[in-house]
């Protein structure tokens, strides 16, 4: 569904991403893990057209989207939910959602029912008219996710969706991500919480200093000694079963 080929991204001459290739198949949750500054966000930003790729190409459903402006990428069905949520604090919750459905609506704003919102984000559905600036951190993350879904994407790029949330709220977010996959969305996930992410993801790529150093299915990676000691800070036990692990922020 999404194929990134030998992608390179630079900021003012400083290389952030070097020749990264990765692939996401329909219906998968694929995760990119790596330390701060490894270039995870840069890869997502290049896919969603926020930063231009310096070299390489990005294919979505067989067509090149590398270098397209962000509104064209959203129109193709890829939406990024950025790190730090970036909700519009001066707008109401309803307006945040409508702003995201910018391309697919009439000129005059009109409220419409959102059965999906009621089902996935019941807490938000009661707060449509409150200013978004007044939401709690968990609600703001829910709004960021709901807003990302508003334009009807087929693929979501999630950048640190559990950042700054309590373990309980983070668990809620991970639950939502898996529900979204069950509803047919394809997800590329960047997360600090490696243990929890690996329990959720089908496959993962490990990014170090702008390069992919490891990739494989979640089970394969969790049995990799180097990965486990680097990212989970413990020696790899013989039989680590990721799905039975408790969620905890790293």
């Amino acid at each position: 569904m999404l194929e990134v080929r030998r992608l390179g991204v630079s900021y003012g001459g400083i290389r952030a991403v070097e020749e990264v290739s990765l692939e996401v198949r329909p219906g998968e949750i694929v995760s990119i893990i790596g330390a701060n500054g490894a270039g995870k966000t840069s890869i997502l930003n290049a896919i969603s057209g926020i930063v231009p790729p310096e070299k390489g190409d990005i294919l979505f459903e067989g067509e090149s989207i590398g270098g397209l402006p962000s509104h064209a990428v959203v129109a193709r069905g890829i939406v990024q939910v950025p790190e730090g949520r970036m909700i519009f604090g001066t707008l109401s919750v309803e307006e945040n959602l409508q702003a995201a459905a910018h391309q697919s609506g009439r000129f005059v704003l009109r409220r419409h029912d959102r059965p999906g919102l009621q089902r996935l984000f019941p807490a938000l559905a009661d707060k449509l008219d409150s200013p978004a600036a007044g939401l709690s951190g968990g609600e703001a993350q829910m709004l960021a996710l709901a807003r990302g879904l508003e334009s009807g994407p087929r693929m979501l790029l999630l950048d640190e969706p559990s950042l700054g949330l309590s373990p309980k709220l983070a668990e809620e977010v991970f639950g939502l991500i898996s529900r979204l996959r069950d509803e047919g969305l394809t997800i590329l996930l960047v997360e600090q919480n490696v243990r929890r992410t690996m329990a959720l993801a089908d496959r993962a790529y490990v990014l170090e200093s702008g390069r992919i150093t490891l990739h494989g299915t979640a089970a394969e990676l969790m049995s990799d000694e180097r990965l486990v000691s680097n990212y989970l800070g413990i020696p790899a036990p013989e039989s680590l079963n990721p799905s039975s692990e408790e969620a905890q922020p790293c």
Binding site: S48, G49, I50, P69, S70, H71, V73, V74, A75, V79, Q80, V81, P82, G84, R85, M86, I87, F88, G89, T90, L91, E95, Q98, A99, A100, H102, Q103, G105, R106, F107, V108, L109, A132, A133, G134, L135, S136, G137, A140, R147, G148, S151
Partner: protein, 299 residues
């Protein structure tokens, strides 16, 4: 007492067109976080093109009015393409300097178009007046107020009831977040320029009709008045721009009446000076700032 009320009413009428100018600056500041110094010159050149048609082709006043509006919008789009779209967002100073350069260019263009110092500006309404009780109303100033009220009403509907207005508000808050959501910020900005140029064209036409003459200095004058009114109200605040425009008009009207013509402009600068010392954020600025701070803390 009657004089005082009369001056206040006159000031509010004239101030309504200051408010339109200030709205032009404040919307562009909101969307781009930059000041478009050539806004006044944009309106001036638009009005010059209308006047040129009148001088050389004796077209009717209606054609002059419509040409003024249409060419102001076109010149506004030209300014946006050349010194805002072409310069990257982070280069704030570069685009401010370039908007100053474009201002000079537009002024040169106007002087080449009509080389004499002043020209009569063909007004839509004849200079007329009517009385209500002890108060005198000048027709062109009353129509200025009515036009400004219509424009503000249309703007309000556009900003709060349409998808374009929502996109504009979203870009004003965070152009990056708007880009993530698939809003085409470049297109929204271009439309915003066209919109404020149209409003500026209306304000300019109304002011020039009252003056009944046009000079190339109108650009400088309109930029000053619009910037002062915006800063009085608080940068980036729409209600602030309206309040600032009305306040500026009222203070100028009183200065003109009690102190004389030479104090009219001085009073505007004194007012701005006082505001910057006592309340640097402007009338409505402080609240906007604290709301943004709140949003930042939550996010």
């Amino acid at each position: 007492m009657i004089d005082f009320v009369q001056n206040t009413v006159d000031g509010m009428m004239f101030g309504s067109s200051y408010a339109l100018l200030a709205i032009g600056f404040t919307i562009i500041f909101g969307v781009m976080r930059r000041i478009n110094l050539s806004f006044g010159a944009t309106i001036m050149l638009g009005a010059y093109i209308g006047t040129w048609l009148h001088v050389h082709h004796q077209v009717s006043v209606w054609v002059v009015a419509l040409t003024t509006l249409a060419s102001t919008v076109l010149v506004g789009i030209y300014v946006e393409r050349l010194c805002f779209h072409a310069i990257r967002r982070s280069a704030v100073l570069a685009s401010m300097v370039s908007s100053f350069v474009i201002w000079m260019q537009l002024e040169e263009a106007a002087i080449h178009l009509l080389p004499e110092r002043t020209y009569a500006f063909p007004a839509l309404l004849a200079a007329d007046s009517f009385e209500i009780g002890p108060f005198l109303f000048r027709a062109e100033q009353t129509s200025m107020l009515v036009l400004a009220m219509i424009m503000v009403g249309v703007l309000h509907v556009l900003l709060y009831r349409t998808r374009f207005g929502l996109a504009l508000r979203a870009v004003s808050e965070s152009s990056l977040a708007a880009a993530y959501m698939g809003i085409n910020a470049a297109w929204v900005t271009l439309c915003a320029f066209a919109l404020v140029s149209l409003m500026g064209g209306v304000a300019g036409y109304a002011i020039l009709s009252t003056d009944a003459q046009i000079t190339p200095f109108f650009g400088l004058w309109a930029t000053f008045k619009g910037l002062i009114a915006m800063m009085l109200g608080g940068m980036g605040s729409l209600p602030g721009a309206i309040l600032g425009g009305l306040l500026l008009g009222v203070v100028e009207a009183h200065a003109l009446w009690y102190l004389g013509n030479e104090y009219k402009d001085l009073s505007a600068y004194l007012l701005l000076f006082g505001m910057l010392v006592l309340r640097p954020g402007g009338l409505m600025g402080q609240r906007i700032l604290s709301r943004e701070a709140l949003a930042f803390r939550r996010v």
